[in-house]
């Protein structure tokens, strides 16, 4: 194969690559207040569960409706509505990643990633817990 044809191939490949990267619509990590400014735009929030406000979930009434409040480290707070079941570890989570968009004052959530005090990170806590049981 000639060098020229290789160059052409690489150029085409690079062009396709650039086009592809542009076609990917990356979202961003936002705070609750910046997400409120970007109404309707798909964002990721890193927040934590506001334990002082009620978690509303009743699987018999509607298994696809969960409502709770989230706060972030900058003091922002919002109601979150998630049309799915309540993740079992929600109350125990210490950090949650919420994917979705702000609609008015409510965060319409598509997906929740829970960061639980993992056993890798918190051996100390776990061990203290285990030991204190006896």
């Amino acid at each position: 194969m000639k060098t020229s044809s290789i160059i052409i191939l690489v150029a085409i490949a690079a062009a396709i690559g650039v086009l592809l990267m542009y076609s990917v619509n990356f979202s961003t990590y936002d705070t609750i207040s910046s997400a409120k400014e970007k109404q309707g735009k798909y964002v990721h929030l890193i927040a934590r569960l506001d334990k002082s406000k009620p978690i509303q979930y009743d699987a018999i009434k509607d298994p696809n409706y969960l409502s709770f409040y989230a706060t972030d480290s900058l003091g922002g707070s919002t109601q979150v509505i998630y049309h799915n079941t309540k993740p079992a570890e929600l109350e125990q989570s210490d950090r949650i990643v919420l994917k979705g968009k702000m609609e008015g004052n409510v965060f319409e959530c598509n997906d929740i990633l829970l960061k639980c005090p993992s056993k890798y990170k918190d051996d100390k806590k776990q061990l203290e817990k285990t030991v204190s049981q006896y």
Binding site: M1, M21, H44, K61, N64, T85, A88, E91, N110
Partner: protein, 841 residues
């Protein structure tokens, strides 16, 4: 201080052998490199030979050391020596023996040792087969081994610890006061144990296979090094081909085993989710496949040698890159199942790995680039090699595309940006790769029929016309009788799915026809065609099963629960995939009538099976056409955490797949909830917490659809209308009968409202006594998701056929005699089957 009850000997033994393996692998590597630098002539033959013997001795010392380390970890875990942090973190007393092996590779350290043990096994085979290449190849393997063992060596260099040892003591790693007591061990009754999500036989089988895949990628790299270092560029490809085939086969099977595991037992709702961890393993495989095809081209025509080098070196680089992605915690926010243990130490160690192995290879490649022979003549457009090369390039570019998006957290780390996954991650990949599938499908279909260098057009047209005809007919039949209903991404994507489907069916047919007509059924020569057929079948299965995957637990379709709480934005965007089943209440789900029957406890602690009775009733004849019980299960953890495994009904054409997403929490004060008594006249109203109810009437001995009393009975039935909070109304009919001087109460239950009604008799002032009991959870329920995956078996069948094709090719390339082939295949299958048996014991 002396601590009571500790078993320190195994740890000391283990640590000694880690150190021995660490030193021995370095010695072996140096000795091999030195031996490879000695020219082969008569004067020095003896010196070279003695260096080789020395290197081999060191090799076997580190092999035996690592084996001992592995056995020691197993010993510590199986004896529950929780004074060792590794046993404390990964083992627990209730853990069944079959998962003790899995404990070893659940942790970082153990999985590195698994990887290094595979290096040992492969190295042993190479010592006996690689002949004059033994020295350079094993030099590379042992250098990699040295870095791998460094990850678990756990020695201090000044104040910094290098690597983390699996033999560290719990009391040294965790600083809490309890460890200053000499009898601290008597307080640690149990370890944390294997993550319940991982308690599955795939956890016993999948990691060893995947790590064999990763470990084996070093062998082609070693061959490439042996040729670059001796500047003998031409003759490494042929002996390296079977090894590359092995890598591709094992890694491919390992990756898809992960998919099967995810499908069978993890509640991700499918076998592939474009999770970064999955991608990280897929990308090296794709690049290796590109390398494999370039090597095959070179072997037959002399073209594409430089590309072969490049892909093999890059493939290994991406193995290391994927190790970096999955093991340093950098994927933290984007992946559901990577290691979370972050740490600078791991970054540095993997950095050393790249600097020691990959960088020198890139350097050697660039330095020798001009000297690597290449053919200047343009390839003929009708030649097989041209299209194989194009295919490799497309595969390679797709791999780069996948890894470019997967690396998002890495960009964020480097540039301080805050980009996150796109809204629909899966679609971002799918919309590109569906077109790749189309192109690769076409290429794998017709390039089999091309000949190297030049192909006659007549021959091609003659041979291709029948497969094309069959494919067109099949695709049309499919489009008419079993159309893909994936319309949510618009008609453009649907067309792309059909194109990819056409191409992959074409590839199945064309490769099948090639086996039959060109090779005349000679399977031994047909490894490539079989592997391509399997791959195409797998892609076909993926397109159909994902395109027509149906959520049968969709609330809106069953019409049972109409969500009245839609939230301020009205209709939710997500499909409502969860359905709640009340115990003993048949509920319509897709074509099925499903009843949640009961729970049954499993052998494991906290694990419960939920038995669901599925019935499919033919609407015209009323006959039951399908009748089966699915038992998805869930681990209910402390704090009511839930970890669920699916229950799946396998049919030849489709799977019914279901898993639990929520279970009812049994409240201890359920049973103590008392009836609250109201004394009411007819048409009186009384309140309960969520609404009110009216006593309409009290009937004596009614004969209606609910009760069939005759005038001989003594029975009273209250007719009550309940007005719920959501302004719906429900009727309740509690009853009271008297027979043989005994009063029997027939209470009425309103399951949806969690209400019990009781007619308790008459009060002294001739009012009716109506009892009402409310409770948060009066009844057991489960919430589940259920899918139908059509033709999922094509995916697994395709995978097996592809692996079979690879094995046939390996045997042919190694010229293994027939009985050796047969024996090895039987042994491999036997080993897998045995593991399967252990796992399911």
């Amino acid at each position: 201080m002396k601590f009571e009850g500790e078993h320190l000997l195994p740890g000391q033994v283990g640590h000694f052998f880690v150190l021995l393996a660490f030193v021995a692998s370095l010695v072996s590597s140096v000795a091999y490199f030195y031996a490879s630098s000695i020219k082969e002539n008569l004067q020095q033959a003896k010196e070279k030979h003695s260096w080789m013997l020395f290197a081999r001795a060191a090799f076997f010392i580190q092999f035996i050391s690592l084996l001992t380390v592995f056995i020691t970890i197993y010993y510590i875990c199986s004896h529950h020596y929780f004074e060792y942090l590794y046993a404390y973190k990964h083992a627990s007393i209730e853990l069944e023996p079959k998962y003790l092996l899995a404990c070893i590779w659940e942790g970082q350290e153990g999985s590195f040792i698994l990887w290094s043990l595979w290096h040992c096994v492969l190295g042993t085979i190479l010592i006996f087969t690689a002949k004059k290449r033994e020295a350079p190849i094993l030099g590379v393997v042992m250098l990699a081994q040295f870095v791998l063992v460094m990850m678990v060596v756990g020695i201090y260099f000044g104040n910094t610890r290098i690597g983390s040892s699996p033999f560290v003591l719990t009391r040294n790693e965790i600083n809490i006061p309890i460890f200053s007591q000499p009898n601290y061990l008597s307080f640690i009754k149990d370890g944390i144990g294997l993550n319940v999500l991982l308690r599955n036989y795939w956890m016993v089988i999948h990691p060893p296979i995947l790590f064999l895949g990763f470990a084996s990628t070093i062998v082609p790299l070693g061959f490439a090094y042996s040729s670059l270092s001796t500047k003998n560029f031409t003759d490494w490809v042929k002996p390296a081909l079977p090894w590359t085939l092995l890598s591709c086969c094992v890694l491919g099977v390992g990756i898809m085993m992960g998919g099967k595991w995810a499908y069978e037992s993890l509640s991700f709702g499918g076998y592939w989710a474009w999770d970064p961890v999955e991608n990280a393993a897929l990308v090296p495989w794709m690049i290796l496949i590109s390398g494999l095809h370039c090597m095959a081209v070179y072997n037959s025509t002399g073209n594409a040698l430089r590309a072969s080098y490049l892909f093999i070196i890059l493939g290994y680089f991406f193995v290391l890159y994927s190790t970096f992605l999955t093991r340093t915690g950098i994927l933290g926010d984007t992946s559901v199942h990577s290691f979370t243990e972050a740490g600078m130490a791991m970054n540095i160690l993997i950095g050393i790995y790249v600097v020691v192995i990959s960088l020198p290879m890139f350097f050697l490649f660039i330095k020798n680039y001009k000297k690597i022979p290449s053919i200047q003549k343009e390839e003929n457009l009708s030649s097989r090699e041209f299209w194989m090369f194009i295919g490799s390039l497309i595969f390679f570019l797709s791999a780069l595309f996948i890894i470019a998006i997967t690396s998002l957290p890495v960009y964020n780390k480097i540039f301080g940006t805050n980009y996150a996954d796109p809204q629909d991650r899966e679609f971002t990949y799918n919309k590109v790769l569906v077109l790749v599938a189309f192109i690769i499908g076409l290429l794998t279909a017709f390039s089999q029929y091309l000949k190297y260098r030049n192909t006659e057009k007549k021959y091609l047209i003659k041979k291709m016309s029948v497969p094309i005809g069959i494919t067109v007919i099949l695709t049309l039949l499919l489009a008419i009788f079993y159309p893909i209903e994936y319309t949510k991404k618009g008609p453009g994507f649907l067309i792309a799915i059909y194109l990819a489907l056409f191409a992959s069916i074409f590839s199945v047919i064309a490769n099948g026809a090639y086996l039959k007509t060109v090779l005349k059924g000679n399977m031994k020569a047909g490894g490539a065609a079989i592997a391509h057929l399997g791959f195409a079948l797998m892609i076909t299965g993926m397109l159909i099963s994902s395109g027509n995957k149906k959520v049968i637990s969709d609330n809106r379709k069953t019409g049972l629960f109409i969500p009245f709480d839609k939230g301020p934005t009205g209709q939710p965007e997500n499909p409502l995939e969860n359905l709640t089943l009340l115990k003993d209440v048949p509920t319509k789900m897709g074509n099925y009538l499903v009843t949640y029957l009961n729970d049954s406890a499993a052998a494991e602690k906290n694990r419960t099976f939920y038995n669901l009775h599925f019935q499919k009733i033919d609407s015209t004849t009323g006959k039951i056409s399908e009748d089966f019980i699915l038992s998805p299960d869930a681990y209910r953890m402390k704090d009511n955490n839930l970890s669920s495994n699916p229950g799946t009904r396998h049919y030849f054409t489709h799977d019914v797949f279901t898993y639990i997403s929520t279970i009812s929490v049994k409240n201890s004060d359920d049973d103590t909830a008392k009836f609250k008594m109201h004394e009411m006249n007819l048409h009186d109203t009384a309140y309960y917490s969520k609404g009110f109810f009216v006593l309409n009437n009290v009937l004596k001995d009614p004969d209606n659809e609910r009760f069939h009393f005759s005038p001989d009975d003594t029975a009273l039935v209250a007719d009550i209308t309940v007005h719920n909070a959501d302004s719906t109304t429900t009727k309740a009919f509690p009853a009271l009968t008297i027979s043989n001087q005994q009063i029997n109460y027939i209470d009425d239950t309103l399951i949806r409202q969690n209400l019990y009604f009781k007619l308790a008799g008459l009060s002294s002032d001739k009012k009716f006594k109506i009892g009402i009991k409310e409770s948060e959870t009066l009844t057991d329920f489960i919430t589940l998701k259920a899918y139908v995956f059509p033709y999922i078996n094509l995916v697994w069948a395709g995978l097996l056929i592809m692996a079979g094709g690879f094995i046939i090719s390996i045997c042919r390339r190694t010229k293994a005699a027939n009985y050796v082939t047969a024996l090895s295949v039987v042994l491999i299958i036997g080993a897998l089957f045995y593991m399967f048996l252990i796992a399911n014991r």
